[in-house]
């Protein structure tokens, strides 16, 4: 026997027409399986209504306050540790840098000072070369190309930031609707 659409109608909360109700009642009278489904669902519904609302053990709010205090303390502690770690890493890096430089200075002061002066001279040379290069650029490259490049870089940066923000919003806040 075909139970469709009667089984759907039995379990549906949609309003049925008078004709549909008559057809369904006729079917249920002659179909044992659908009669059992109807009876079972009625019993399930009454079972749902019969059980009381569960409630937490007394003192839920106090436990919540303790839980929140624990969370805030943990958060503060984690932030503190992060700051300490960052400071430690920076300090160690600086110390290593200073020690290596001092070690070189102590080992051979003359060559060390010469090397530093050479580096300084190279930096000045690079700076002057770059300055000359940029001074001659506006004449050889049209202004529009410059603006185009500037605009392109700007758009790419903006799109990257937008993509990152969207990704973060979609992946992080999905569960907090």
């Amino acid at each position: 026997m075909n139970h469709q659409p009667f089984r759907d109608w039995l379990l549906s909360e949609e309003k049925l027409s008078a004709e549909q109700i008559r057809e369904m009642q006729e079917h249920v009278r002659s179909c044992e399986s659908c009669r059992q489904t109807e009876s079972a669902w009625t019993q399930v519904e009454s079972a749902f209504r019969a059980i009381p609302q569960a409630q937490p053990a007394p003192g839920f709010t106090s436990r919540w306050q303790a839980h929140l205090a624990e969370y805030l303390a943990h958060k503060q502690k984690r932030r503190g540790w992060m700051m300490i770690s960052l400071n430690v890493v920076i300090t160690i890096s600086l110390l290593i840098l200073v020690i290596t430089q001092l070690w070189s200075l102590v080992q051979a002061p003359g060559p060390y000072l010469v090397a530093w002066f050479t580096r300084l001279f190279s930096l000045v040379t690079i700076y002057l070369t770059l300055q000359d290069m940029f001074r001659s650029l506006p004449g050889s490259i049209p202004l529009l190309s410059f603006l185009g490049m500037f605009l392109l870089v700007g758009i790419i940066s903006f799109m990257s930031v937008l993509w990152l923000a969207t990704y973060r919003k979609l992946s992080f806040a999905r569960r907090i609707i």
């Binding site: 489904t37 569960a54 907090i176 609707i177």
Partner: protein
């Protein structure tokens, strides 16, 4: 369903902890009940409820006032419970952990309490036969009187998906009920009648 004054919500959003405690007091029962119906274990429901309120605390600034607060809150609870159910999947839950229940009718007594616990367990077993999303839809529909639209919004699904999930859940529940042969469900017994007679 509880409601909360907009003024309290504004205070909560401004970071007023006293207002948040008031909010917890107002909604603890609704949240715990949903978590308990979803997870079937009082201890897990307690943890899930606490976690729900913590998530609300962290994200209260994202709350949109156009939406009913209870719907937003319960959707967070439901999502958390769905995640928990997905995580544990094969872990067997102790059925001994039973929460505090509302005071029964005017006839409290060992027999009445026993029947209530028995009914409670039967409903829990029934709900366990549903997948987490269907279970959440059934709980919101039958215990919280959520509309199809509210369920859809809470579970991030369409209204037609809600209808089809509820329909599928009803069929599963009816079939499970038939299989279990739960003819002796205590709601069918006369009040105070002992099963021995």
């Amino acid at each position: 369903m509880n409601t909360i004054e907009p003024e309290v919500l504004n205070q909560v959003q401004k970071g007023n902890q006293e207002a948040f405690t008031h909010l917890v007091e107002s909604f603890q029962r609704s949240v715990f009940n949903l978590c308990y119906r979803m997870l079937g274990d009082a201890s897990e429901a307690e943890d899930a409820s606490q976690e729900t309120f913590l998530r609300v605390y962290k994200n209260i600034k994202n709350y949109d006032h156009k939406r009913p607060f209870s719907t937003w809150l319960l959707s967070i609870a439901a999502h958390h419970c769905i995640d928990q159910l997905r995580k544990r999947r094969m872990v067997v839950i102790s059925m001994d952990a039973v929460p505090y229940l509302d005071p029964p009718d005017s006839s409290p007594g060992p027999e009445s309490s026993y029947h209530m616990l028995e009914d409670q367990k039967k409903v829990e077993n029934l709900l366990k036969t549903l997948n987490p999303h269907d279970r959440a839809a059934v709980i919101m529909y039958y215990w919280y009187d959520f509309s199809y639209e509210e369920i859809a919004q809470s579970l991030s699904i369409t209204v037609s998906a809600v209808k089809s999930r509820l329909h599928r859940a009803r069929l599963t529940l009816a079939q499970t009920w038939q299989k279990q042969g739960a003819n002796n469900f205590s709601t069918e017994r006369k009040t105070h009648e002992s099963p021995a007679f």
